[in-house]
Symmetry: C2
Amino acid sequence: MKPLATSDVTSKGQPFGVRSLAMALRTEIEKMILQGGMPMGERLNENYFAEKFQVSRGPVREAFRALVEAGLVEFIPNRGVFVRQVSLEQALAAYEVRAALFSMAGRLAATRRRKEEIARFRGLVHDMDEAIERNDSEGYYKLNLDLHSAVMEAARNERLASTYQGLIKELHLFRAKNLRLTDHADHARISNREHAAMVEAIAAGDEMRAYQAHFDHVMNARDRLTEPFREI
Amino acid sequence: MKPLATSDVTSKGQPFGVRSLAMALRTEIEKMILQGGMPMGERLNENYFAEKFQVSRGPVREAFRALVEAGLVEFIPNRGVFVRQVSLEQALAAYEVRAALFSMAGRLAATRRRKEEIARFRGLVHDMDEAIERNDSEGYYKLNLDLHSAVMEAARNERLASTYQGLIKELHLFRAKNLRLTDHADHARISNREHAAMVEAIAAGDEMRAYQAHFDHVMNARDRLTEPFREI
DNA sequence: CGGCCCTTAATTGTTGACAGTCGACCGCAT
DNA sequence: ATGCGGTCGACTGTCAACAATTAAGGGCCG
């Protein structure tokens, strides 16, 4: 891997706070973890990262602290940091938090959305339908993310969005490990019907209906994801 | 101030992750900030804290990184970290997130609460009524926190609770700076009526009513707090 | 007299070295 | 064979020194 210098950092397009090696490392290591580059439960060796990025251990440790706070790694004194293992129980709890945040986004979007946004929502839902017909689960996945981001944006609450994003990252840890063939076309079809309900509630400006639609969508998604684990 | 050694840290009753100086410092500095020990917008000098706690700058910097991630301080490269200034807009946004989380807690509590907890809720509301009559705003404040914690506990979702707590800390930054005589007895009376509605909805096991009651309570609290700032 | 530049002190950024701790491995006794 | 204890190695925890950057103050020039 290329040596990471401060000059590399400045070239990044982030608003602020990315000039220091520690901040750059935090971003870089996070990316590595989320893209599955690190096996789950793996210990993150300070020296390894220090050599990999051609820096000393100080900045690496600072980056680790930030990741601990973000909940992506676990810290055990005198042992080091480990890629966090997300249990099924924790994933279920996280989904409830996600439902809280996303349903709020839907509710706010219902009062704050603009005309163009509604058109975009409907377009995305339509494109997802097409992706399903094409059996294009890759494309569906991306469109799905786009729709969720679009709703979040329409809520016009930065704090809500960043909290949501942080949570999503944690959930990625769970999905990365327990990825199974959960993308049945059936699931996608049902999911997209829920999307349509969400969008129409927002379009109608109906706060409570939007709340319910978004809430149900997340909780149903939870059931769909964790279904394979239920031992009945 | 007393020198902070690892031995001091171990004496703390935390489950894990508090053995290192950095973690201890993070807790200590956070406490200092939240208790208003640091003027808002103040730069946190690394050497100052290093000498104050008789440690080197390394652990101090690690503690700072964690606080940055927690959103309590702002980081400007080559300048240092500053106690975060929370604007009115940010506070309003944070209240919306809080409403999302707390209303979810109420909703979950409505399905998961136990008999003893309901009794405790009602007791707290009653005690708050008495505190109002006594004009004991100090006592009311504490009981208020207790009720909110109790509801969170009844929701039985650790992730929800920790996210909520992190947000509350941020809101403290706003209240610390803009503390005005907002604790009118009128406000307390109205607030406690809302508490009663929350508790009874939980007691009835009515999810949607609990959701609404908790949601409204937070949003009304927001209006009561930020009322003085509105220039009509 | 005001504005620009240079110097300088203070503070952050980074490093390498040293100390402390934990787990693994190996040998021994049972 | 198995369980226990000690030794060793690898890694984390901490520190103090050095480099780089910033902001402030004073002097010079227009």
